[in-house]
């Protein structure tokens, strides 16, 4: 288990403190590219999914409204 080096809040505000037991072997480029891919995948995947769902629900609403509006006058 990793242990942290406790620091005072005021010193943490101006520095980044390594965690004891951690190893710095991963390249910054790989981490940066992975992070940006994740940003785009989550942000735009979620937006696209929402957009497609809205389109599908709207279409279903239109269809149902038409069916119901045809049925309603027939009852009167």
């Amino acid at each position: 288990m990793q242990t942290t080096t406790p620091t005072a809040p005021e010193s943490r505000s101006t520095e980044f403190v390594p965690v004891s037991g951690g190893g710095e072997t991963t390249s910054a480029e790989a981490l940066l590219v992975t992070a940006y891919i994740l940003f785009w995948a989550i942000f735009f995947g979620f937006l696209l999914m929402t957009w497609r769902k809205i389109t599908r629900v709207d279409k279903r609403l239109d269809d149902l409204s038409q069916v119901l509006s045809k049925a309603r006058p027939a009852e009167h």
């Binding site: 809040p9 981490l31 940066l32 992070a35 940003f39 609403l61």
Partner: protein, 233 residues
């Protein structure tokens, strides 16, 4: 929001995203190695995403509290939308933070107060979303989800102040004016990030609320159609 206005908002957001990426990679300098060097550029999306999680959580909190005071479909829809967006932005924060931490701290994760409280908050919002998605749409489920939504947001100030009050590794570069923002372009990049992610959060929360309202209306119409025996059509 009229459809044309929404598309304009999306177009402006897309332009801001493109501008932000260009600004981050071509204008902001690479930070010192202790801050992660090149990996510090994650900061310009990571911090605004955390802020967007607060924003979404606040929407969830207000709508949930209003729902508990007086139930309505609109309030339920906004509460649900706020929780869903808080989960999305929370995931971004919890995935991008460890990637940056790997370079800056040497590990992906440590049980730092801010990291732990952030994880807890996201898990509460996940509970709200799961409850609303799979727990049925009954009044009791909605009220329970609203109570969880209030609880999740009550945790947000704890996240914010945890880093100042308790020990840990997470920096407080914004409120204390620390090393992360020494260069003017870094501060400008962060402000640009806040603007872009705020626009995106507004677009996303609005879309999710609209979807939740449309789903409620669809459920009502399907019930009516089923009662009349019209669902086969």
């Amino acid at each position: 929001m009229p459809r044309g206005s929404y598309e304009t908002l999306l177009a402006i957001t897309a332009l801001c995203f493109a501008g932000l990426i260009a600004f981050v990679f071509f204008k902001t300098p690479v930070a010192q190695l202790q801050a992660g060097g090149l990996a510090q550029k994650i900061f310009y999306f990571h911090v605004p995403s955390a802020y967007a999680m607060y924003l979404s959580g606040t929407v969830c909190f207000i709508a949930s509290a209003l729902y508990l005071a007086g139930a309505s479909e609109k309030r339920d829809a906004w509460a649900r939308a706020g929780a869903e967006c808080a989960v999305a932005f929370g995931f971004v924060v919890l995935m991008s933070g460890p990637l940056w931490a790997r370079k800056a701290w040497g590990v992906y994760w440590t049980w730092d107060p801010r990291l732990t409280t952030s994880l807890l908050s996201v898990l509460i919002y996940v509970a709200v979303v799961v409850l609303r998605a799979f727990g049925g749409g009954g009044e009791a489920e909605r009220r329970f989800a609203a109570a969880l939504g209030v609880l999740g947001t009550a945790n947000l100030p704890i996240i914010h102040y945890s880093v100042q009050k308790w020990g840990g590794n997470h920096p407080t570069v914004i409120s204390q004016g620390g090393g992360g923002l020494r260069h003017p372009a870094m501060a400008q990049g962060l402000l640009f990030g806040f603007l872009t992610i705020t626009l995106f959060a507004i677009a996303l929360i609005w879309a999710r609320a609209r979807l939740a309202l449309a789903n409620s209306r669809l459920a009502r119409l399907e019930e009516e159609a089923a009662t009349r025996g019209l669902l086969d059509e």
